[in-house]
Structure formats: C-alpha cells, structure tokens
C-alpha cells in the first residue's frame, strides 16, 4: 500500500486528542431520580481514580474509528489493484469532417466508422476504458469511461460536418487523456481526407483505420462575388474528382429564381472556373451543380451578397463641413450633423451607432461608439490638462496598431493639440514625443477613440490621410458587417452592436441558436451547409439581421479518393504502461466507512437520550 498524500496522515494526530478529550471530560450518563434524599450520604467513590483510567466506552471507540478512517483517507492510500494485466485504455478518434458524410458502398462513411467504433466498444473487457474523441474542424473529447452503454450513446450523438479534421489536435488530446496505468493505444477511424500532415511522434501505439474507397465526386470549392457598379460579379470554381470527364450544368439561383445557367465540362480530376456579371438587387446567391455524386453537401455553395451594415453617425460640431465630407463618402454611413447646443434635443441620439464630438463632450458617454475630437478642458469624462497648444514640429510621430497601419502623416501639421492624461482603459495609437494624438479604448461597453488635436488648427483635413483616417476610425468603432460566407465548422467571429442584448442565429433548418452577447461572439457550430440568419436583438426586438452562407465544398474534403495515413512515428507497444499494475484508490471506501460509523454513532447517541 502506498499513500498519495502522506501529509494527510497528520490528521491521525486527532486520535490522541480524542482520547485526551475523553479522559478530561468523560460525560456521565445522567439518571433522574425522584430525590437525592437517600443517595446523599452514601460513601463516594474516588472520582480521580476513574478519570485517570481510560474510559473505554463505545462512543470513544466510534470516535477513534471515525478519526482513523478519515485520517487514512486524507493520506490517499492506494493498493495494487486487482486489475487484469491486459486492461487497456483506448483513445478512439473518429473523423467527423464533412467528407465522412459521403455515401460509400451503400452506407455513409461515417456510419461505417460508427460501426467500427461499436465493434471496438463491444470487444472491450471489463476494466477496459475508452476515451472517445471527435475530430472535426476542432478536436474534442466526447466521453471517457468503461460503460459500453454510455460510450455507445455518446457515439450515437456524433454527426459528420465541418471542413477539416483536426487529427493532429485529436492525437494530442488522446495522448493527454490516456491513463499510463493502463495498456494504452490510439485508434483513428477516418477516411483520410486530411491536409498534408507533418511527421510527428506519438508516444503510444496508433492503429489507423481507413474508411471508404475511391468514389467520384463533384464540388463547388469556391464561390465569391463583388459589386460591379450596380451589378454583381460572381465567381465559382468547380472541381471533379473522377477518372472520367464530367459534363453538367451549373446554375446560379437567388431564392427560387435561376439567374444564370451554364454547361460545364471538367477534365478527369480537374477544375474549371466560371464568372458571371449579374444584375444587382439580390440578397443571396446559391450555386448548384447537378453532381449526382457521393457527397451532395458540396454540390451547392451559398453566398450572402447584401452584407453592408448601415451606420448612423451624429456629428456634434460647430464646424462640421470637413468631417461631414469625409464621412459621407463611406458606404453605408448616414450623417446627422448638429451643434453642441442642440445635441441634447437631437432625436437621433437613441439610434446613433457612432457619435462624434468635436470640441465638446457631454456629461456621460452616449449609446454606441464615440469619437472625441479636441476634448474640452472642463470635461468630466476625460482629464484634459492643457489648453490648445502647437505641436513641436521637430518631434517624431510614433504610431502603432492596425487602424493607422500604412497611413502617412508626413507633412501633416498639428497646430492646436490638447494634452490629456490617457485614461487607464485607452491605449495611445499616435503620439508626438509624450503628447498623445490618437487614443483608442473601451469603457463601460463603449468603443471610444480620441483625437486630441483640433481639426481647424492644422492642415490634416486637406491631406490624403484625413478621409482614410476617418474611414478606418469609423470601421474600427462601428461593428463590422458579417462575412459573405464561411466554411462549414469554421470559426465565425461576430462583433455585435454594443447595445445588443441578445444574439440569435437561425440555421437552414430553422433551428434557433442563442449565443451570449459579448464584445466578440465566436461561433463554431455552423456545420450544416446553407444560409444562417444572424439577428442582433435589443429588448426582444430585432435591430439588425444579416445572412451568412456556410459551404461544405473544399478541395480537401470533396476529394473522396483514399489518402495515405500521415507519417506518424509511434511505438509498436505501449512503453509507458505500468506493466498492467493498477493502483486502486482506497479513500472513497474509507470515507464511506467513516460515514457509516458516524451514522451508527448518531443512532447510538439518540438511543441513549
């Protein structure tokens, strides 16, 4: 027997303490009598004699037993278990990428993989353990245990979907999850549709189970669009993974309307590219090829065309002309100009995505994002330590951050700059010496940028950098639009409006997914190909809805020809297993026994009352 935490045995010091307490204060049983009249003058026995003797009562023995059991339990005792010497711990990695959904030999590859896994689970002996790992776009441990029913039930919940199988990540997870006290091994069940893997070492034996055969497949592996005047240019790339040439029709559909149709001919194992110029005014596009192949999921591609996100800007300035011009050329931006005096009564304050304060600041940050230009010295929101002062022309400018990347401030003269004490939530993006010029930060849910210079006091508004700086600042402050499309299982990052209280995603089969609102919401559950609707809600009402296309077509997943196993350097036998010897923890048994003894003591004490 060994102890995992020998220091825990210090708890056994409670044993002499309990004996001492019983010696010091042995509580006699109290017996009521009608009167002490007849007992009062009896010859007393010497109490001291009794107190020096250990009172071996049942209660003392129970106390000692409980303390001893708990003391040993705290030491974490272990004994060499009666585990069978061939007890195994298997990490079962199942490829759940979209290529596993391909029909191959009458059943889908994933169903064949599941059947292999069931067979493996059924073949386990008592005491064997299995850790089930799903390798989709990301790898995750699904379940770990010995109960075949639990393992099979967890296996049945898996569905194929998503581009890419993170086999490397899954192997790392498996190595970490395998218990060295068992005989370990890793079983990978996959169709081999993997990107080229670098050679890697694996510490335990790996059994590579290849599923599927060479089945022909056609796929739309790229689909994109861009506005072209009032029209849309659409691009698609179609691949055929077949030994025979392919002739078929490629259609571009919007809703139920076919916008374009073209016959395509693809050489064996070749690709073709097609582009169209289509009329504008459509929200979504779907490309469909009549593949009639093993993997129908990649025969369609989805694209959201109208992805502009409208931005309402309130410009609070006494001289708004230059800023207004720069703002109005930004697509999707609506500018409402007002003066500081009239700002309090401006009705658009409630819907503003961005408020620009030029030489003025209210008492509190407004809703949405804020750009502050030349903040006044009497503001309660920012600590302005000096009035407008000219900038030392000789001091070099230091700029950082992606917002200002590539912007040239050469020749720009900042003649009137207010020195502010940078708040703790902001970082300086542009500074001259120790004088901050542009700051960026986030406080109390507000995205805030600060320009400390007065636009009227310099020549920035006449330089090329000005509209670029304004456009980048607006794009940086306002929530970005949704992407046109993502690959199935790809991480989709959404920066919702800071005022949104809920984010609701509706899947192609109209399932409702609610995501907790944060500054950046990350979704990796978009696996089914199709159009997903993303709704930003405030107070139960939808304030903005966008569409994202999710596509399963990818060269690596759509090529259903068997691939060779990646170069893995794994041992033939598990070198790390403890020769079949398994240590069994005794503390749960000891703690349970202590509880039982406590219950007995409780009953005994109650009975004595």
């Amino acid at each position: 027997m060994s102890f995992l935490l020998p220091l825990g045995l210090l708890a056994l010091l409670a044993l002499p303490i309990i004996v001492l307490l019983h010696l010091l204060r042995e509580r006699r049983q109290r017996v009521p009598v009608p009167s002490l009249l007849l007992w009062a003058h009896l010859p007393r026995r010497i109490d001291g004699e009794r107190s020096r003797r250990l009172p071996l009562t049942l209660l003392l023995l129970l106390h000692l037993l409980v303390a001893a059991l708990l003391g040993f339990a705290l030491g974490g005792p272990q004994i060499a278990g009666a585990l069978a010497p061939d007890a195994r711990h298997t990490a079962l990695i199942i490829d759940t990428s979209s290529s596993m959904a391909a029909t191959d030999g009458g059943a889908s590859r994933f169903e064949q993989a599941r059947q292999r896994a069931r067979t493996l689970i059924a073949a386990t002996s008592p005491g064997d353990r299995i850790t089930l790992i799903a390798a989709g776009p990301r790898a995750q441990i699904v379940v770990s245990g010995e109960d075949p029913f639990v393992l099979t039930a967890a296996l049945d919940t898996l569905r194929p979907g998503g581009v890419g199988a993170a086999i490397n990540e899954a192997l790392t997870l498996a190595e970490a999850a395998l218990d060295p006290q068992f005989s370990r091994r890793i079983v990978v069940v996959t169709d081999g549709a993997l990107p080229p893997q670098p050679a890697r070492d694996v510490a335990v034996p790996v059994e590579w189970v290849q599923i599927g055969s060479a089945v022909p497949n056609r796929a739309i592996i790229a689909f994109a669009s861009r506005p072209w005047g009032g029209r849309i240019q659409v691009y698609a790339r179609v691949a055929s993974y077949d030994t025979a040439p392919f002739n078929g029709t490629l259609r571009i559909v919007s809703g139920n309307q076919v916008l374009a149709e073209e016959q395509v001919t693809i050489a064996p194992n070749g690709e073709t590219e097609i582009s169209w110029t289509l009329p504008g005014g459509v929200e979504t596009l779907r490309a469909v090829i009549d593949g009639r192949d093993a993997l129908p999921q990649d025969d369609s591609a989805y694209l959201s065309v109208a992805q502009g996100r409208p931005i309402t800007v309130i410009l609070v300035s006494n001289q708004p002309a230059a800023l207004r011009r720069a703002l109005e050329v930004i697509p999707g931006v609506t500018v409402v100009a007002t003066t500081p005096a009239a700002y309090a009564t401006t009705s658009e304050r409630a819907i503003a995505d961005l408020t620009i304060f030029d030489g003025f600041l209210p008492d509190a940050w407004p809703q949405g994002s804020v750009l502050v230009i030349a903040p006044p010295p009497d503001s309660s929101l920012l600590r302005v330590t000096s009035d407008l002062q000219p900038l030392d022309a000789g001091a070099p400018l230091r700029q950082r951050g992606s917002t200002l990347e590539g912007l040239g401030f050469g020749g720009v003269v900042f003649n009137a700059v207010r020195r502010i004490e940078p708040p703790p939530w902001a970082e300086v993006l542009l500074a001259s010496g120790d004088l901050p010029l542009i700051l960026r930060g986030r406080t109390e849910g507000h995205e805030i940028a600060i320009w400390t210079f007065d636009l009227a006091g310099g020549n920035l508004t006449t330089r090329l950098a000005f509209p670029l700086l304004v456009a980048r600042t607006v794009r940086d402050l306002a929530p970005p639009p949704l992407p046109q499309a993502v690959r199935a299982g790809e991480m989709l990052m959404i920066r919702p409006d800071p005022r949104a209280t809920a984010l609701v995603i509706r899947s192609p089969d109209d399932r409702r997914i609610e995501a907790p609102v944060a500054s950046v919401v990350t979704l990796d559950t978009l696996i089914e190909p199709g159009f997903y609707t993303v709704e930003e809600q405030r107070g139960g009402a939808t304030v903005l809805a966008g569409i994202v296309g999710v596509n399963a077509g990818a060269a690596i997943e759509s090529n259903l020809r068997p691939q060779s196993a990646p170069p893995l350097r794994a041992p033939g036998n598990d070198p790390g297993s403890a020769s079949g010897q398994h240590m069994i923890d005794l503390w749960p048994w000891l703690a349970g026994a202590a509880l039982i003894v406590l219950a007995i003591e409780w009953v005994y004490v109650l009975r004595r009352r």
Binding site: Q29, R30, V31, P32, P34, W39, R45
Partner: protein, 307 residues
C-alpha cells in the same frame, strides 16, 4: 418527509382513563373505616358515632329531661316504674374525608408515575366517600396547598371529583410541613385525612402530622414507592439528578453503593413508620405498580382502612 419526525418527540402512549363504570359499581360494596371518635353530623352518613342519642332503636335509657322529644319516651318503663325515661340508641353519622394528593415533581417519576397511583387511590377513596354520603375534600399540594375540590357530598359530585383528580399535574418541590400545617389551619373540625405521597422531603412529616391530633383527626398516610426505588439498577458511574431540585450527584452505582442505599431506605421507612405511630396515624406502603383492584384495595382492606 420521512425524516421530518426524527427529532420530534415520540408520541405519548395513550393513557387509559382512571376508572371505568363497572369497577366503580364493584367498589360500592366497600366503605371507609372511620373511627367512632370522629365528629360528624347525624343527619346522614353510614358511620357509627360514639355518642348515644334519643332514637327509636335503643340500647340504653336515661332519665327524661325538659325539652326531650316525647316520641323517644319509653312508655312501657313509665307504666312499670312510674318514671319518665328516654330511649337512647347508637346513631349513624357522616364524616369529613380529606384527601391530600402530593403533586410534587418527584411524583411524576416512575413507570407508571407515582402520581397516577396516587390519583387512583384518591379517586377510589373519594368515590367511596361520595357514595356513602360523606363530606369530601380533595386537595393537591407540593410545597404548599395548590388546588382544592370540595366540600362535596353525594354521588352527584362524582364526575366533578374524578375530573379534578385527573387534572392534577406534578409541579414544584415537596414541603410536607408547610402543606400539612396550612391545610389543618383551614379545616379545624377534623375528619378522616388521607395523605397520598412519596414523602420525599428531607423533614417536616412529624411537624406536619402534629397538626392532626386524634381523636379530632384520623390520619392515614399512604406512602407511594416505585419498585425501582426499592431495587435500583447497577448502573456504574453515573450522575444522579434530583427531578425536583435539579441537583446533580456523581456516583458509581455498584453492589456496595446499592447495599448502602438499601440500608438508608430501610432506615428511612422505619423512621416514617415510627413518626406515624407516634402521631396516631396509620402508615401504609403502596407500590406504584400494584394493580388497584387486585392488590391495592385488598391491601387497604387487610390494613382495615377499607371495610
């Protein structure tokens, strides 16, 4: 929930009523043995008086004196002797029965409680008193006189009397002297006094009984004891708790202690018996576990307390 009653007190076993009707009917054949010296009223009752009064059933004569009832003049004697004699005979009288019930906390001790035995005895004697048209007082006491019932006469007061006895609850400490002296001051006419008590008071019995001198009073002391008081268990090291005072006495109860205790108990009983003898009281020791009809009543009859 099933565990909701774990810490709740155990339900008390239902206490049977003190008396039933059949028992009371059987009891009517008995009567309390009152001394003739007791002063009662000749208007009713079933106890013979030591006084001879004019009566139609006569056993003696005395010369006629002015004011005697002509109905009791023995005209046959007048015819033979030419002198007026009045017929004298024994009369029956009622007596006053005083039942004193010890309701101190020590009476609640025992299984069954000594108080219950005392209630049974008091109820029996009270019933006999009412059934034989005696005047009845029932009083509970501990350190002082607590509650009183009576005077009552006639069976019509039976239910009221039984209810009073049933409602006696154990209370404070025992003080025999104070309780007995107080009671005697309030009842100077005397009568038959029955004290039902465990007599567990350090002193005061002799002083208390001094207030009940014969022949005005006929006193009967029924000493209630629990069998466990006579034969305590061998419990080892324990702490005895006086249920009246709450005082604690650590002790080791072994054979030696029990032998000492028994000697103390015997001496104490002899002392009580001696006090009762000196004060003209009848002493009767009754165990609280004795069945009333099969053991207590035969015992009281054997002691000529009941006839």
């Amino acid at each position: 929930m099933w565990f909701g009653n774990i810490f709740s007190p155990k339900p008390q076993a239902e206490i049977p009523p003190l008396f039933n009707e059949a028992f009371l009917r059987r009891l009517e054949r008995l009567s309390l043995q009152a001394q003739r010296t007791l002063r009662g009223r000749p208007s009713g009752g079933a106890h013979l008086s030591h006084r001879l009064l004019p009566t139609s059933i006569f056993s003696d004569h005395r010369p006629y004196s002015v004011g005697d009832d002509y109905r009791y003049v023995d005209w046959n004697v007048y015819a033979h002797q030419d002198a007026l004699f009045v017929k004298l005979g024994e009369i029956e009288q009622d007596v006053t029965i005083h039942l004193l019930l010890d309701a101190s906390r020590s009476m609640a001790w025992g299984s069954p409680a000594k108080l219950r035995a005392a209630q049974l005895i008091a109820g029996t004697l009270g019933y006999l008193a009412l059934a034989h048209n005696d005047r009845l007082h029932v009083t509970s006491f501990d350190a002082a006189v607590r509650r009183e019932f009576g005077p009552a006469q006639g069976k019509s007061r039976l239910i009221e009397m039984l209810r009073f006895i049933e409602q006696v609850q154990p209370g404070g400490e025992t003080n025999l002297r104070s309780a007995l002296e107080t009671y005697a001051r309030h009842h100077p006419r005397g009568g038959l006094l029955v004290v039902c008590s465990d007599l567990l008071a350090p002193e005061g019995l002799e002083e208390g009984l001094r207030a009940y001198p014969p022949p005005t009073w006929q006193t009967l002391v029924i000493h209630l004891l629990d069998p466990r008081e006579l034969n305590p268990e061998r419990l080892g090291p324990i702490e005895l708790e006086d249920v009246e005072t709450g005082k604690l006495l650590p002790l080791i109860i072994d054979d030696e202690t029990i032998a000492h205790y028994r000697r103390n108990l015997a001496a104490w009983q002899r002392t009580i018996e001696s006090i009762c003898g000196r004060r003209g009281a009848t002493y009767a020791r009754v165990l609280s576990t004795w069945p009333l009809e099969r053991q207590i009543i035969p015992y009281l009859r054997a002691r000529q307390i009941l006839t």
